[in-house]
């Protein structure tokens, strides 16, 4: 069944697959995870704030984003980002936005909704006595978040945040719908150019599988190491 397959096509396209494709995928994953974490934490703080309106806005945003499929959100932002750019910069026409910027904005906004739920759970897992003690010591709200609550919440949730990042790593393959050469997109381009769909897609599947497996094994190890004994 593998008789008329040519696995040499993989070797020939390795530089393109990894230097171009995988670099794009990993850059997008890393930056989107960072951005998602920052915005997600802000949204979580809004949701837990004592101002009802802020909480409602944050809640609506999270529910809204989480009920839409990522593919639709990718299309939305692909067409919307040029207009947002025009609005922000005050230009006279929709600005031209590169593929990377457009997808990065998409993933940051989308993942922020998911990261915010994780951070919210993390913040709520801190016992009430801690912020109470912080304010008794005279710390402001910002200081008690910055020095007391968020570091602990982040540490408690680190394994879940990393697991979500692995999901994000897999989800970045969906930029395929915009014909952007991420890792899968690059594999698909070579596959279609050389008529070698079977070899390229099997190889792409194997690469995603190995990276995700190793990463989730690492997360399990980390989880065992950093667990706080209470």
């Amino acid at each position: 069944m593998f008789a008329n397959l040519d696995f040499d096509v993989i070797r020939r396209s390795l530089p393109y697959l990894f230097l171009d494709g995988m670099t794009f995928t990993l850059m997008l994953t890393g930056l989107a995870a960072l951005g998602g974490l920052v915005f997600g934490t802000l949204i979580a703080l809004m949701r837990l704030s004592s101002y009802r309106v802020l909480g409602r806005i944050a809640g609506l945003y999270v529910d809204f984003m989480r009920s839409l499929p990522l593919v639709l959100v990718i299309f939305w932002f692909y067409f919307l980002v040029p207009y947002i750019g025009q609005w922000v910069t005050g230009a006279s026409r929709p600005i031209r936005v590169g593929a990377f910027t457009s997808t990065l904005v998409t993933f940051v906004m989308f993942e922020a909704a998911y990261f915010s739920e994780i951070m919210r759970a993390g913040i709520q897992s801190i016992s009430k006595g801690q912020p109470a003690a912080a304010s008794a010591l005279g710390l402001t709200y910002a200081q008690s978040m910055r020095y007391i609550v968020l570091p602990q919440a982040f540490r408690n949730m680190l394994p879940i945040l990393l697991t979500q990042t692995i999901v994000l790593f897999q989800d970045t393959s969906l930029v395929y719908v915009l014909s952007i050469p991420d890792f899968l997109g690059a594999a698909s381009k070579v596959a279609q150019r050389d008529g070698r769909l079977v070899e390229m897609y099997l190889f792409a599947a194997a690469v995603y599988f190995v990276i995700s497996c190793v990463a989730s094994y690492g997360v399990r190890r980390l989880q065992a190491r950093i667990a706080i004994v209470r």
Binding site: L72, F75, W76, Q170, D171, L184, S188, V198, L202, Y208
Partner: protein
């Protein structure tokens, strides 16, 4: 924002010659729901089998369950759909491969099976956790009553476990609906696909995507409300969520 809004576009005839743009989107919505329902049935069947395997005392059984889950969880859904759609027919014997390529509605069946198997790994994990959360006494009581392993799963463990994991199952069902949109890449013109088609035919990008967004939100609200009723009527008395 210099964009030409035209909300009447939905009632203008679409280029296929049959009905309006709104009809186009509704047919996409119907296809999304059909695909998601078939995928969910597949996910529940395979997820139950694998979830039970993972909870059995036998080392071999739980190892098989572990491998199944890892296989389907560590590849992007998009890649899995490509494997089923482009790769599998080439690797099968010639006759079987030809048959697969000639099935009418191939994208629909591939999407339903592909998304179904992808979600089954997640259902399996939830179910195994649900079974593990039951007190040990339940299994022991079932054995003491003379039930075989099969019977104790059928009459004691599974009915309890499924009722406990109903809330996470709701969100997995919602994920199944959302994940059908990935099948746009193998040519399934479901709701997202129809919105994209409408955008290409009419150039009214934001109207098309707004309509699709509203439809997805509506599905979500309906499913969440329905499941809340189901959860309330199936809640186990004596548990926190029960009466």
């Amino acid at each position: 924002m210099n964009y030409n809004w035209n909300w009447h576009i939905f009632f203008e005839p679409n280029p296929t010659g049959a009905g309006t743009y709104l009809d186009l989107l509704v047919s996409g919505l119907v296809l999304t729901i059909k695909t998601a329902l078939l995928a969910w049935v597949i996910a529940l069947i395979f997820g139950t089998i694998v979830g039970v395997l993972r909870s059995l005392p036998s080392k071999t059984a739980s190892w098989i369950g572990f491998c199944y889950v890892e296989f389907f969880r560590n590849m992007p859904l998009l890649v899995q759909l490509f494997l089923w759609f482009f790769v599998l027919p080439e690797l099968l014997p010639r006759a079987a491969g030809l048959w697969m390529k000639q099935i009418p509605n191939a994208p629909f069946w591939t999407a339903a099976i592909g998304v179904g198997l992808f979600m089954s790994a997640r259902v399996a994990v939830q179910l195994a956790a649900g079974i593990a959360s039951l007190p040990r006494g339940q299994k022991q009581a079932a054995t003491a009553l003379g039930l075989t392993t099969g019977q104790s799963y059928r009459y004691v463990l599974l009915p309890m476990a499924f009722r406990i994991i109903l809330p996470p199952l709701t969100s997995e069902f919602l994920n199944t609906i959302k994940n059908t949109s990935v099948a746009i890449t193998i040519g399934l013109i479901e709701l997202t696909g129809q919105a994209r088609a409408m955008q290409e035919f009419s150039f009214q990008v934001f109207e098309a995507f707004t309509a699709a967004t509203v439809m997805y939100l509506a599905i979500n609200i309906i499913v969440v409300t329905g499941m809340r009723f189901l959860e309330r009527s199936l809640a186990i008395p004596g548990y926190i969520t029960g009466k």
